[in-house]
């Protein structure tokens, strides 16, 4: 079973909660357009680590071939893409 958009979104907010709070924000206040990279929650390498963490947590594989790069670090778009493109890893 692959995760829903809400599952992925919830995992990201929990995974990065301390960084988000340290930036003076509240995870529950962030809307779907929140960009994790622009806000400094992750850096470039952190994006690769974020993808690895999501895959490992949900035991899935995601092919990002069809993703618009502009959406890669946007909370709502990333969560939706993962939910729609995830396959169970073996």
């Amino acid at each position: 079973m692959t995760p829903s958009t809400t599952d992925v979104r919830g995992f990201l907010l929990q995974h990065f909660s301390s960084t988000i709070i340290a930036a003076g924000l509240r995870p529950e206040d962030l809307d779907d357009s929140f960009d994790l990279l622009d806000a400094g929650v992750v850096d470039s390498l952190g994006v690769l680590e974020m993808i690895a963490a999501v895959q490992e947590h949900f035991k899935i594989f995601v092919d990002f071939e069809a993703m618009d790069p502009a959406d890669l670090t946007v909370l709502g778009s990333f969560s939706r893409f993962v939910a729609e493109h995830a396959t169970n890893s073996v």
Binding site: L37, D38, D43, S44, L45, G46, V47, L48, I51, F64, E65, M67, P69, A70, L72, T73
Partner: protein
């Protein structure tokens, strides 16, 4: 010297030939970081060719502007992008890198190096025009080519409405730092990675945008 845009829309020269023609100065312009990241000049050059061929990359051949001599041979050039485009291209490069690392036997070493270098370069803001690479071939140096390229970069940004310009330069490249300072750039921050040749300075300049050039 005359400026030539080496874009992929030029139908006379193939994209492969264009990539080969810019590789010598573009490869050097990315060093010492690029060779260090990929582990050898040969691998660095191979990766650079792949990045040049990808239209979504920060280093896409579509973003390269060349300067040629009277005979039409490239003597140098630059890669420059608006800040927002840098941000999007870097995301595209991350996805391409992830895809490459999934099939590379060298993935753990490259990831470790990316980890070491994670704070080496400053972020580029949307309001900035960024000089991603600039280079001049050795035989054409000390003839004002670098200054001409830098002027072209600033004019290019001003035409697009930018008033803030940013670049990263190897701290050991004293000649380039002098050139940038003479053009009005100031050193904003320096970062280094211990036990590596990597020491970079981020430089910025403000200049009023002009629409009449």
């Amino acid at each position: 010297m005359r400026p030539t845009a080496c874009s992929s829309h030029d139908s006379i020269v193939s994209i492969e030939a264009r990539i080969e023609s810019v590789l010598p100065w573009l490869h050097e312009a990315g060093n010492p970081y690029w060779d260090w990241l990929w582990g050898s000049p040969t691998e660095a050059r191979r990766q650079l060719k792949d990045w040049l061929a990808r239209s979504s990359s920060e280093l896409s051949a579509e973003h390269v502007v060349c300067l040629t001599d009277e005979g039409g041979d490239a003597v140098g050039g630059y890669v420059a992008l608006p800040g927002r485009k840098v941000q999007i291209c870097r995301r595209a490069d991350l996805l391409a890198l992830r895809s490459y690392l999934q099939r590379s036997p060298d993935a753990s070493r490259i990831l470790a190096r990316l980890g070491q270098a994670r704070s080496l370069f400053a972020n580029v803001a949307e309001t900035e025009f960024y000089l991603s690479r600039i280079g001049v071939l050795a035989f054409a140096r000390a003839q004002g080519v670098g200054r001409r390229l830098l002027e072209m970069f600033v004019q290019d940004g001003r035409r697009q409405g930018f008033s803030k310009f940013r670049l990263d330069v190897s701290a050991d490249n004293e000649g380039a730092r002098r050139l940038y300072r003479a053009a009005g750039f100031v050193e904003e921050a320096e970062s280094a990675i211990a036990e590596t040749p990597l020491r970079y300075v981020s430089m910025v300049m403000s200049a009023s945008p002009r629409c009449d050039e």
